[in-house]
């Protein structure tokens, strides 16, 4: 476990250096948050029918989404991608650690540091000035923390898998190009998942991507509680295990046919 934690730690430290990027990101995210919340307020203003989420819940969902946006980005790890295309990935093979675990730790670190750096200020601003509510209860808050960490791990396993597929495609086309729109739509980033028509919801329920942000957010809002929260979080864990398994098998296959160019 030690070496993987060290990889995670060093990635976090490196990325914490980029504070200006984070600041620009925060301003952008708050701006988008204002645009989206204005839209939902106007929609709720026009209709008195009961909706799956009430206005306050949707506003909170939007701000949580702006804070956790990076969880839905799954571009391949850029340094590993360069290593794969340049052949330097051969060095990775010589290290006395499990390759999959070390890549997963790296991807998790690359995600965690900027995520925290962005999320905290946005959550504070959203909570203080823009109508974001606190978790419905203490237990919902605790479950949210667990669920968002599961979301982070899920995001890291997806990023790792996308990076591994580059052993085949090198250029990063294919899966890396196809996934972002799918995740954007089915994670809850485009619009909160409960607001889709029922038949769309039924499809998204079966995809892994709602585990990224939708599940934690609905736990936070109290929309998932008790047995429903447990089931949704179990689904997150199951998807993590499945994607880890697929990732490991893919990596093995990839390494077997890997040809490093140059000398």
């Amino acid at each position: 476990m030690r070496p993987y934690l060290a990889i995670l730690d060093s990635r976090c430290r490196m990325l914490l250096q980029y504070r200006v990027v984070a600041l620009a990101g925060i301003v952008t995210q708050v701006f988008w948050g204002l645009l989206f919340t204005a839209m939902y307020r106007a929609f709720y203003h026009a209709s008195k029918t009961a909706q799956p989420l009430n206005e306050g819940q949707v506003i909170t969902y939007i701000w949580l989404g702006q804070a956790m946006l990076l969880l839905t980005f799954n571009r391949p790890d850029s340094e590993l991608a360069t290593m794969i295309s340049s052949g330097a990935v051969a060095y990775e093979l010589t290290r006395p650690v499990d390759l999959y675990n070390s890549w997963l730790a790296r991807c998790a670190g690359t995600k965690a540091a900027p995520l925290v750096l962005r999320a905290i200020p946005i959550l504070l601003l959203g909570g203080m000035f823009f109508g974001m509510a606190t978790p419905v209860s203490v237990s919902a808050g605790v479950l949210f923390l667990i669920s968002i960490i599961l979301g982070l791990i899920l995001a890291a396993t997806i990023t790792t898998l996308v990076t591994i597929t580059m052993l085949w495609t090198i250029s990063g086309e294919g899966m890396a190009a196809l996934l972002p729109p799918l995740i954007y739509i089915s994670s809850g980033m485009l619009i909160p998942l409960p607001l889709w028509p029922d038949w769309v919801k039924r499809i998204f329920d079966w995809l892994p991507f709602r585990g990224l942000i939708d599940t934690p957010f609905r736990v936070y809002l109290g929309d998932f509680h008790g047995i429903f929260a447990a089931r949704a979080m179990a689904q997150q864990v199951i998807w993590i295990l499945i994607i880890v398994m697929i990732g490991r098998v893919t990596l093995q296959r990839g390494l077997r046919r890997l040809v490093v160019q140059g000398g």
Partner: protein, 261 residues
């Protein structure tokens, strides 16, 4: 002038022919863009299905706003693409070469690349067509002209934003992502009636970055919601913005110190 125009079309011809060497990749990109923008529109439709209307605006009316702004943005993204790929020229010091040639720098930058955004353009046109077919508007020649001028004004406005984004590199070397708030954010803001936003946001998108003047204000006339004279002239706001953006760019050129080679 005529000579410059000829040169511009020569540039564009080269750029397009270059891109057509990768036809499959071009078609793939356009299709992907079409699908993503369509999904975004479907999400908006899903919200309308749920809520009926946004404030007092019905779905086809919003579809008209959406179509107008999408088309304008797609055209501007294609035409002003040269300014979008501008920052590396500054960082690498390649901009010096542009200054040596006996033609205007803006023309050379514009001519660098024209990247047709067919996906977004077609999607915007379909949405606009859907809006017009559902709305049964009373068209007059003046209104048709107003519609065309609004879209052209929008092209000017977004081009102006790309130019400002590029001009900022003269001072910062790196490109600044925050401008995306006004480009993509402007598209998002323009897709819905301005009346839903808080005063601060509304003032920003009316007087600072005049999205409303090329979209919301003329659209209200076309929809018969208003007949105020200033709104007829509103699309000029986009042109004024473009002129101001070019001024900023020229100031940037005067400020330019090469990063060396």
């Amino acid at each position: 002038m005529l000579n410059s125009l000829k040169l511009y079309f020569r540039y564009i011809d080269l750029s397009l022919r270059g891109q057509m060497q990768y036809r499959a990749s071009f078609i793939m990109r356009s299709t992907a863009q079409f699908l993503v923008t369509s999904m975004e529109f479907l999400a908006l439709m899903a919200l309308f299905q749920r809520f009926g209307q946004v404030r007092d605006w019905k779905m086809p009316e919003v579809a008209m706003l959406y179509g107008m702004i999408s088309i304008a943005f797609a055209i501007a993204e294609a035409v002003a693409r040269g300014f979008d790929v501008f920052p590396p020229l500054i960082r690498m010091g390649d901009f010096d070469r542009f200054l040596l040639r006996p033609r205007s720098t803006e023309l050379q930058i514009l001519g660098q690349e024209l990247k047709p955004r067919l996906g977004r353009l077609i999607q915007g046109a379909i949405v606009l067509g859907f809006a017009f077919s559902t709305l049964s508007l009373k068209w007059t020649i003046a209104k048709v002209l107003l519609l065309i001028c609004s879209i052209l004004g929008g092209v000017c406005l977004f081009s102006g934003l790309f130019i400002i984004q590029a001009a900022m590199c003269f001072w910062t070397i790196e490109s600044i992502e925050i401008v995306n708030c006004t480009t993509y954010g402007g598209v998002q803001a323009g897709q819905l009636p301005m009346s839903i936003y808080k005063p601060g946001m509304r003032i920003f998108f009316t007087y600072v970055v005049p999205i409303a003047s090329v979209n919301y204000l003329p659209a209200r006339i076309i929809l018969g919601r208003s007949d105020a004279l200033p709104a007829w002239l509103a699309p000029m706001g986009g042109v004024v913005f473009l002129v101001a953006a070019l001024r900023i760019f020229q100031a940037g050129v005067r400020h330019y110190r090469s990063t060396g080679s």
